[in-house]
């Protein structure tokens, strides 16, 4: 009996130490993840002169100022970059949803000759890295005189084989009987898609939408290739341009204000749709 008690006692102490170590590790990593966010917000609130006078950076500021934010939006057309990005994101995402829903519907619901072959070709395209095709796409868009246009920005990214695949899987989980029941009631294919399939798969479609929005908001490489007129810059390119030449090289606080402004929309979307985004990425990851 006493032996058992002793066993339990050491077990408890060891378990407590283990728990403490676990929480320490997790907190340290959390700190590492959060610190850049803290630092950008902190720096963006420091005045230009205060920042430059801190040879040893301070971890807090006593005189926070919002001037940097005003500067960020007035010295460079950051507002315009925002509008561009919102427009680009909205149109690309909407167009992509139409394209992938139609394709997923055809693959999951319609019977046609060559279906399996076409789907196999689609799947194999999933392995093609963007870097391989971006060269020709750059030439194509240039030749079409679509550089520095929204069309040129949008066109190459309105299809996603991966999302077609995800949605097709989802559509296929809708029981066959539902389609039969709709047929008996005289529902056309299009109406069935709009009134039954899309509403039932709404969670997946929302997840795909959010993931695409994130992707669009952060896209950098393609916009950089296709735009050199700052009228068409997206936020990433705007930020990079600010880094290279904006605000005078050393106006770090204003730069950080721009960085915060660019980061906030996505962080808000993330905090609102946290569960959806994380489960969507998880599902996508586990499928891929």
């Amino acid at each position: 009996m006493s032996n058992k008690e002793r066993l339990n006692g050491t077990g408890k102490a060891a378990r407590f130490a283990g728990k403490a170590a676990t929480y320490l590790l997790l907190s340290l990593w959390g700190l590492f993840v959060l610190f850049p966010f803290y630092w950008m917000i902190l720096t963006s609130l420091k005045s230009y002169s205060a920042y430059n006078s801190e040879f040893i950076p301070k971890f807090f500021t006593v005189n926070p100022t919002l001037n940097n934010y005003a500067d960020a939006f007035t010295t460079v057309p950051l507002g315009r970059y925002f509008l561009n990005t919102i427009l680009f994101t909205a149109v690309t995402t909407a167009a992509m949803l139409v394209v992938i829903i139609m394709a997923a519907f055809a693959f999951s619901r319609l019977e046609f000759a060559g279906k399996n072959i076409v789907f196999a070709v689609f799947l194999s395209l999933m392995m093609i890295p963007n870097e391989l095709v971006i060269i020709t796409n750059f030439v194509t868009i240039t030749n079409l005189n679509l550089r520095n246009t929204f069309l040129g920005l949008i066109l190459p990214s309105v299809t996603s084989v991966f999302y077609i695949y995800l949605l097709k899987e989802n559509f296929e989980q809708i029981p066959e009987e539902l389609y039969k029941a709709a047929k008996v009631d005289g529902t056309s294919d299009v109406k069935y898609l709009l009134r039954v399939m899309i509403p039932i798969c709404r969670p997946s479609i929302i997840t795909i939408t959010i993931l695409k929005v994130i992707e669009c908001w952060n896209s950098y490489v393609w916009p950089r290739l296709i735009t050199d007129d700052e009228t068409y810059y997206l936020v990433s390119n705007g930020i990079q341009d600010i880094r290279e030449s904006g605000f005078g090289r050393e106006n770090i606080p204003t730069m950080m204000a721009a960085v915060v402004a660019v980061s906030i929309p996505l962080i808000i979307i993330f905090l609102v749709f946290r569960k959806k985004i994380m489960s969507g990425v998880l599902r996508g990851g586990l499928k891929g």
Binding site: K19, T22, Y23, L25, L26, V33, L34, P36, F37, I56, P57, V99, A103, A106, L110, E111, F112, A113, K115, V118, L125, P129, E131, L132, V133, I134, I135, N137, F138, T140, L155, V158, T159, D189, W217, N218, V221, R224, L225, V235, S236, I239, Q240, R243, E250, M255, M256, V259, V262, S263, I267, I269, F270, L271, R274, V281, L282, G285, L286, G288
Partner: protein, 296 residues
Amino acid sequence: MKNSNFKAWLFLLPAIAFLGVFMLYPLIDVLIYSFEEGYNSASQSYWGIGFYNYSYVLRDPYFIQALKNTIILVIITVPLSTGLALLISLGLNSIKALKNLFQTVYFLPYVTNTIAVGLVFMILFKKTAYTDGMINLLINWFGGQSVDFIEGPYWAKMMVMCIYTIWIVMPFKVLILTGSLASVNKNYYNAAKIDGTSKFRTFTRITVPMISPMLFYLIITGFIGAFKAYSDEVALFGTNLNAAGMNTIVGYIYDMLYGNSGGYPSYAAAAALILFIIVLTITSINLAISKKNIHY
């Protein structure tokens, strides 16, 4: 039947059109480009067919530097981030309180603009006339000398690059591993407990084998992702990566295509195909190893 055929193709038309123009055609086109010697984008003419573009790229010191940088980045970040992610996921799965909070925080980098946050990393590590920067402050506290991590020695720049890359790739790995750890049937652990299996043995004999498919998946995607590194480097070191000596293969491709050093789609195409072959080879090796080691 005919009618339904027509309808199906109609529904597929947009997807097929876009994929055809922006994926299938470019795939063939890039191959052609890579073999067209002396292609001139102004006159759209070339003087021969052959392997010249490949041999040029493979001898270009900038490409060699980019290849070296990319490989170092891959070798350091893939094992480190995967191991760290496993450790953190194990920790996350063993706690109840604050678990959601930690998970949310850890996922944040996934939804941030990598260019924007890259700038933060830059100012954290950068040494200027006005300040040595946050990180150097820490180094000084521990008695070290200040280093310019952004425009200083090669190893310092490489370190920042690796740290930032790990910061970026961790959310996905932690999420996937936490998910697959949670999906391991609890009965295995209960059975192990009843048999008096030690924690370490439970981990190596039950946990790791059970999640091995996901681990391999993360390693493979980690390799692929790290080989395609580019925009993180731009954020840290600016668009002129060749000058910084910090270019990557993908960066080399874009530089060949566009910008001050651009206008050589043939070289870009050759470099892209070389990258594709490297990634394909490594993925195949990984898959072969994982087939041998995953038994269910």
